[in-house]
């Protein structure tokens, strides 16, 4: 992230005293505190804190969220919220913070992701203020000599810098100070914020590890090459999320792991003619197995994460009665996780992922006689598949009416996922955005309705299956009563979703949309 042009580099060997004199020759300064600062910075695995234009750091018993640049809407460096925290946390979820402003500010930024230690910085800091004719402070300056402390305890000195922090309502004065540093003193602007520089010098990646799949494809490239590129990136995502899944750092690791596996499986099916059938069958089986062994743990993660919504859906006087249900779900989640972790740590899991990656890397060099789509242009193959799956969905959806059993909705939803992955992974880089984006939007609306319908159906079945176990716990009878109310609400919502199906399906499968799909993809 650009440091909002507020950081300037000082010559490497300059002392903070000399630097102060240098600036004092040009600016009216007020002396502040000189101190040693030890800060530990945090971010989520995928860099949500940095993406929000803020910084999370622990210093001297306090965890703070600070504006890192103009994106936060606050003056740079301004503390937006803070909370007392005696020790620097090893891993922190928003709901583990005490209620208060920091939790309120952090929750929308990181949601269910955990804050993890990012970098440990020790600095010598001399604070100065630029003042106006009224002796009012109008710009804050910090002369900083920072050093990164690596995980092994090694100290890496970074180049000293002048950091500028604007004071609200004094933008003109900030611009004048910047002009003075740029033009009069000729100080070079820092390319990175001190945090970003520290992350880079410690060997980290700016912005964290993304699970996004943004592979550039060209319409005319061989389908097997394109498939290997997209699927290879999915292997990276699977591998990146596996350690956090096993360690239960936060629920998103398992979620992202499973989405990447599911997307891979969708492309295995849809692009099957670019692969040799026998080898593909083996890898499909292995990814299916990864999906199966991680399914129950993810389902229970969702129950526990969404429990507050469940609770809120029953009348207030019954909400606390659901505690035994939560206890059972948590217990089952731990059991499911133990079983999943055992499988994911196995040689089979490791081989399933690495052998698939190795296979993709040499796919292009394999004989082509049993891979009829291998050398065809990817836009042609992807267009055919998108068109075919879309037509299939239109057929399936048209057959649904008020008397249709739930299985038909479920099948349509599965098909919808297939289409969504095709559109996101191949449609977006190969076809016009003005067609793909609205199509994904209308598909998402349809999938939301189908998903709600399916989820409610499954949730009702799950609650019924847990009834006996819940009833055996203290407070079990009251919990069963509350679960009855919950089941009732879920069934009402399932019916509501059914009612919404026709309208959302019409939007997805209307004449104009069908024509557009035909023209674009066929």
């Amino acid at each position: 992230m650009a440091p909002d042009a507020h950081d300037y580099l000082l010559p490497g060997r300059v002392t903070l005293e000399d630097a102060g004199e240098l600036l004092g020759g040009r600016l009216e300064l007020r002396e502040g505190e000189t101190r040693s600062a030890e800060r530990r910075f945090y971010d989520t695995f995928d860099g949500l804190v940095r993406a929000a234009g803020v910084e999370a750091s622990w210093e001297a018993g306090r965890l703070s969220l600070t504006g890192a640049g103009s994106a936060s809407g606050a003056g740079s460096g301004e503390v937006l919220a803070a909370a007392e925290l005696a020790e620097p946390p090893g891993r922190l979820l928003a709901h583990e913070l005490p209620p208060g402003p920091l939790r309120d500010r952090l929750k929308p930024v990181i949601d269910v992701r955990a804050l993890l230690p990012l970098v440990h910085l020790e600095s010598e800091v001399r604070e100065l203020g630029v003042v106006n004719a009224e002796d009012k402070l109008v710009v804050r300056l910090a002369l900083e000599r920072p050093a990164v402390i690596t995980r092994s305890g090694r100290r890496i000195a970074l180049r000293p810098r002048v950091r500028l922090f604007g004071v609200r309502g004094y933008d003109e004065e900030l611009a004048e100070v910047r002009d003075a540093l740029d033009d009069d003193l000729g100080l070079p602007r820092a390319e990175h914020t001190v945090l970003d520089e520290a992350v880079l010098r410690a060997g980290g990646v700016l912005g964290g590890v993304s699970s996004k799949i943004d592979v550039d494809l060209s319409a005319g490239e061989r389908s097997d090459v394109a498939a290997a590129a997209v699927l290879g990136r999915l292997v990276e995502v699977i591998e990146a999320n596996l350690p956090g899944t096993i360690a239960d750092v936060d629920a998103e690791f398992l979620h992202d792991f499973r989405v990447a596996v599911r997307r891979s499986r969708a492309l295995q099916r849809e692009l099957k003619r670019v692969f040799p059938p026998a080898q593909l069958a083996f890898h499909r089986g292995e990814l299916r197995w990864l999906q199966q062994v991680s399914g129950p743990a993810r389902d229970l993660d969702v129950y526990v994460l969404d429990f507050d919504e469940f609770r809120a859906s029953v009348p207030e006087q019954f909400q606390a009665d659901l505690d035994p249900l939560l206890a059972v779900l948590r217990g089952r989640r731990l059991t499911a996780r133990r079983e999943m972790v055992r499988e994911l740590r196995s040689d089979r899991a490791r081989d399933a992922i690495t052998s698939w990656g190795t296979f993709l890397a040499r796919l292009e060099s394999l004989p082509e006689e049993d891979r009829p789509d291998a050398a065809r242009p990817i836009a042609e193959v992807a267009g055919e598949r998108i068109s075919k799956v879309y037509r299939g969905m239109v057929r399936m959806g048209r057959a649904i009416d008020a008397s249709t059993p739930p299985e038909a909705y479920h099948e349509l939803r599965k098909k919808g996922k297939e289409l969504r992955y095709l559109l996101e992974l191949l449609g977006a880089p190969l076809f016009p955005g003005e067609v793909v984006k609205p199509m994904v939007r209308s598909l998402k609306s349809l999938q939301d309705v189908l998903g709600r319908h399916q989820d409610r159906e499954v949730q009702v079945a799950t609650l019924c299956s847990l009834a006996e176990e819940v009833s055996a716990l203290p407070g079990g009878a009251a919990a069963l009563m509350a679960m009855g109310l919950l089941v009732d609400r879920l069934l009402i919502d399932e019916r509501a979703a059914r009612g919404e199906f026709a309208a959302t399906f019409h939007e997805f499968a209307g004449r104009e949309q069908r024509k557009l799909v035909k023209e674009t993809f066929s």
Partner: protein
């Protein structure tokens, strides 16, 4: 959750501005995002923070929601503490309020967009009983009332409690106390015995409080560890404790958030 606290007294020269400035400073120093709105056209708080007494478009447009308070807010020298400055046009604020619909919820509506940015909003009020003060009563969770321990103090206190009955919490504290004066000691003892909402901490009449106008700073910087600085810290601790015990007034936020802009 934002708390709106107004330093208020019908009388002038009792230590309202000193309390607003020092308590808002302490709130910010404690890590809470804090705003002080200097509602007094004399602009003493604004002067103490060395900020120009000017709001964009003037007080009338601000009150009528034609301009955004955010555009006039200035950062003070203290991290986490911002000021919405005074403006000389505030002397006509009663007229501006009088000409608007539901004048008494106007200040609350001006403040509504700021709730998400600040944990504490202090209102430094001019001394009067007027539409401005009624609007303050509707916006505030609590009135912080400095009282000089003199013969008519008890009467002032009782009048005020009657005036705001059903409104904000009234948290009165002794100000400009001279413990050597037996009259001050007697009045303090009487009032403390009679009023449960009388705060324990008392602000002494001290040089460092008077020096605020000369040094244009807070007592914690003029005389750190001095009697006045410690008294304000004790007072802030007591205020927070009472606020936590009382919760936020129902309806203040919702009535401010609702309604169309004029």
């Amino acid at each position: 959750m934002t708390r709106v606290l107004a330093t208020y007294n019908i009388k002038g020269g009792v230590g309202k501005t000193s309390a607003a400035v020092n308590l808002s400073y302490l709130a910010a120093r404690g890590g809470a995002r804090t705003l002080l709105w200097d509602l007094d056209p004399q602009g003493a708080s604004t002067y103490l923070f060395r900020i120009r007494p000017k709001v964009r478009g003037g007080g009338r447009r601000l009150i009528r929601l034609k301009t955004r308070p955010e555009d006039s807010i200035k950062g003070t020298d203290y991290l986490g503490l911002d000021l919405l400055p005074a403006d000389f046009s505030y002397r006509h604020m009663d007229l501006a309020l009088g000409g608007s619909k539901r004048p008494t919820n106007r200040l609350a509506r001006v403040l509504a967009p700021l709730y998400k940015h600040y944990e504490y909003i202090f209102l430094d009020c001019p001394p009067s009983i007027s539409l401005v003060s009624e609007s303050v009563f509707e916006a505030a969770d609590a009135l912080l009332v400095p009282i000089i321990p003199a013969t008519l103090s008890s009467r002032t206190f009782e009048q005020l409690e009657e005036l705001v009955a059903g409104g904000p919490q009234v948290l009165a504290f002794f100000s400009m106390v001279e413990v050597r004066k037996s009259l001050h000691r007697e009045v303090m003892a009487q009032l403390r015995a009679r009023h449960v909402t009388m705060l324990g901490a008392a602000i002494p009449s001290a040089d460092e409080v008077e020096r605020m106008g000369v040094d244009r700073s807070v007592v914690a910087e003029i005389a750190p560890g001095g009697r006045a600085a410690l008294s304000y810290e004790a007072l802030w601790w007591d205020v927070k404790r009472r606020l936590d015990a009382a919760g936020v007034r129902d309806g203040v936020r919702s009535s401010a958030a609702g309604g169309s802009s004029a």
